[in-house]
Amino acid sequence: MKTLYKIKKGLDLKLEGMAQPPQNGGSVNGLPLAETYALRPADFTGVVVRLLVREGDMVKAGDALFCDKATGMVKFASPVSGKVAAIVRGERRKILRVEIEADKTQGSKAFSVKAIADYSRDEMVNLLCEAGLFAFVRQRPYDVIACPTDAPKGIFVSAFSKMPLAADFNVVATGQEEDFKNGLRALARISKVHLGISPEQINSPLLPVSEVSVNVFDGPNPSGNVGVHINHADPVNKGETVWTIGAEAVIMIGRLLRTGQADFTRIIAVGGSEAVKPCYVKTPVGTPLKAVFAAGVKQGGHVRIVNGNPLVGQKSSLDDYLGAFSTEVCALPEGDDVVEPFGWIAPRLNDFSTSYTYFSRLFGGDRAYRLDCRIKGGERRMIMSGEYDRVFPMDIYAGHLVKAIITGDIDRQEALGIYEVAPEDFAVAEFVDSSKLELQRIVREGLDILRKENS
């Protein structure tokens, strides 16, 4: 039994440089082994980590590099086998990343696994924690890494993303459908699993999985956001917790239960207008981005590398490493060298806007845009009303909530539903905002403060 949710609010944005799936049903190429890989604690939002290795230690893929300080249960595992080459620290000795020099021959830690149906809830949680896979489970409220001792009322998985340049999960899952289904079955041992799919996926080989409840979401971006799914299917109330996990991590869980080995390879989309060859590649978490952009980026002009998609991803560089939650990376024109006189009144036919003061709505049609990273305006107070609501498909007054966060009014934030949101849900609103407020940063900071107050 599938429930269909029609989503009207939102915005689909088409950018140049969509990653091309492999031709003629071929499989995605794996990248050659790079020299060093790195895991960045900052990717795992909300976790204070304790190091478990020292420089020079030898580790296998799946061996824990660090764990969370609070419970010590959640392990963060090395994506490859090799030598801990460096522990890079920043200000106040904060750990920025743990670098692993990869062995020529890769080995990974073995776990004893049994049939999924034989696992109890706690056994399954422990297995995921030990194998470094629980690190990919996040929770609402606060959008931080989940605590394994919590009892969530549900686990939400989204099998699609409508973000610009996002990896198409159907491409990613090709050939791994059984692992995906088994991953879902494994999660169903822990709590009720809600899988959100797009209408095109109803008859795809990702289904059926009788253990999970399936919801179909039909609508523009951000209809693929798990936050939207939660808000429609089973909203979070104060005092409740739900867990969310990326579909690509669900495949890893299925793989672990099939092979008994920790394997952090995933298929990611490499795209953007400045990527020479937009394509899909297969590579472990923590791969250097220089290796991910093997075909290189276009020369001439300044290029920004984004770890993630253009709306949610972090600003990064080729010297950085693939983020733990990045399912795509992209190269965009930075735009800091563009000189554009009188832009506020120019027709700007090549620029995208949702505003009808531009003609792109009239003539743009279905074209893909090449957008640079300029803000294209100064930051202002919230002037226009209804801008966020048009692209915020949740039963929440987005503008009022953001104002409550800015003013630090915690009671009002709670009342307006801050427990149901994550920064990524505000990404499209941040894109269209004419006041150019950094909504995702504002929401992140608000959630952090709230979490501190409530702890």
Partner: protein, 392 residues
């Protein structure tokens, strides 16, 4: 080219530069001429090309038809009073009005932007473009006879006391342009209403005609309030060939602006439509149940719409996103009440022939309350949901 000039000048305006006191002006001019090349640091990497500068510019563009017609109408009314309409060319009438309006616009921008620049410099913020719109609105809602010093005073009052003390554009409670008008209306009532102020009576650059000081000309609403029948035809009122504040007379010119604003979604059609619906309801009620001796109560709703500042207020004032209701459903109620109150004031208060200004200012005050009910509904729903699941 422009960029090299700005790059050359920048050191003078930066910290320790000689002209640092004018940094906000420099930055304002630079972002006016060139799109700032700052790129995003956190959050989304790409942005929509819209910004508040463009939004404000489009409001100004939408105001132009009404403004240009207002200029022409000043010349027309002057020629009409002199009995010389036949002999005066279109351009002579237009330039006469242009020469009378231009100083008002210049004064309004000089004073208003001067204060804004100073505040931006003081608070170390970017200049906000909200005053671009306010600065052109204010000259359009005063009578042509309004002296420049009065205008300057009103602008200073509204920018400082109605906007900046609340924190600038986006934070104000009342519409700044209407505050300026209200300030003038209550401080200098004889210069803002009555029968003497709607006519330009002196030649400018040998354009127009000198008229005797005693020449008067009543607005349609003024006539109705005085208990006489309106002497202007409905077509004149719709086209705008009647005396009134500079920008408010022509329904046609305002309608062009309204179409632009509604198409670009800068102004909410919900607000505009509901203002008219509200006005029509109350006007009809007065038609049927109003006192027989009250001429305004007998006006039909289209006469109400065509007279005075009803259309102008509905399109350009009530829709100000900052001071109007922010929830989508709230906009219906907000607009409805503005229309109803405006007609109510027109009919029942003989002291104020025009009710639009007070109706909008009054509803500005209540917009947060309207929003409160809709937001609170959402909050209550969430609370109820929480309680229900807690029971299970």
């Amino acid at each position: 080219m422009i960029k090299t000039i700005f790059d050359k000048l920048r050191p003078h305006f930066e910290e320790k530069g000689k002209l640092h006191a004018f940094y906000s002006v420099f930055e304002g001019m630079e972002t006016f001429m060139l799109v700032p090349s700052t790129t995003s640091r956190t959050g989304v990497s790409i942005h929509d090309a819209i910004d508040s500068k463009r939004i404000m510019s489009f409001v100004v563009i939408a105001l132009l038809p009404a403004l240009l017609f207002g200029m022409y109408n000043i010349g027309y009314q002057n020629a009409l009073a002199a009995g010389m309409v036949e002999q005066t060319s279109f351009w002579a009438m237009f330039f006469y009005g242009f020469l009378l309006v231009l100083p008002k616009i210049v004064v309004s921008y000089l004073v208003g932007l001067g204060i804004e620049f100073a505040v931006a410099q003081w608070k170390k913020e970017e200049i906000q473009e909200g005053y671009l719109v306010t600065g052109i609105l204010i000259p359009m809602i005063v009578p042509v006879d309004c002296p420049l010093w009065m205008l300057a005073l009103a602008v200073a009052f509204s920018v400082i006391l109605c906007k900046e003390i609340f924190g600038g554009t986006g934070m104000n409670i009342f519409n700044p342009a209407l505050c300026a008008r209200a300030f003038l209306f209550f401080s200098y009532p004889t210069s803002m209403s009555g029968e003497k102020v709607w006519l330009a009576k002196e030649q400018v650059c040998s354009l127009g005609y000198n008229l005797p000081e005693a020449t008067t000309m009543a607005t349609p609403l003024g006539e109705a309030a005085a208990g006489t029948n309106i002497s202007y035809s409905l077509s004149d009122m719709v086209l705008g060939f009647v005396p009134g504040s500079i920008g408010e007379t022509s329904v046609v010119a305002i309608a062009i602006g309204a179409l632009l604003l509604m198409y670009t979604r800068i102004a909410s059609w919900k607000t505009i439509v509901s203002v008219f619906v509200g006005g029509a309801i109350v006007a009809l009620l007065f038609n049927f149940f109003g006192p027989a001796d009250n001429a305004v109560a007998g006006m039909s709703c289209w006469e109400h719409f065509a007279a005075g500042g009803f259309c102008f207020g509905a399109v350009f004032m009530a829709t100000d996103p900052v001071t109007s209701a922010r929830t989508e459903q709230g906009k219906y109620i907000y607009g409805l009440l503005i229309g109803m109150l405006a007609i109510l004031i027109r009919v029942l208060n003989p002291g104020f022939p025009e009710g639009m200004m007070l109706a909008i200012l009054f509803m500005n005050m209540f917009a947060p309350l309207i929003d409160y009910f809709f937001v609170q509904h959402n909050i209550n729903k969430r609370l109820a949901r929480g309680k229900q699941t807690a029971k299970k």
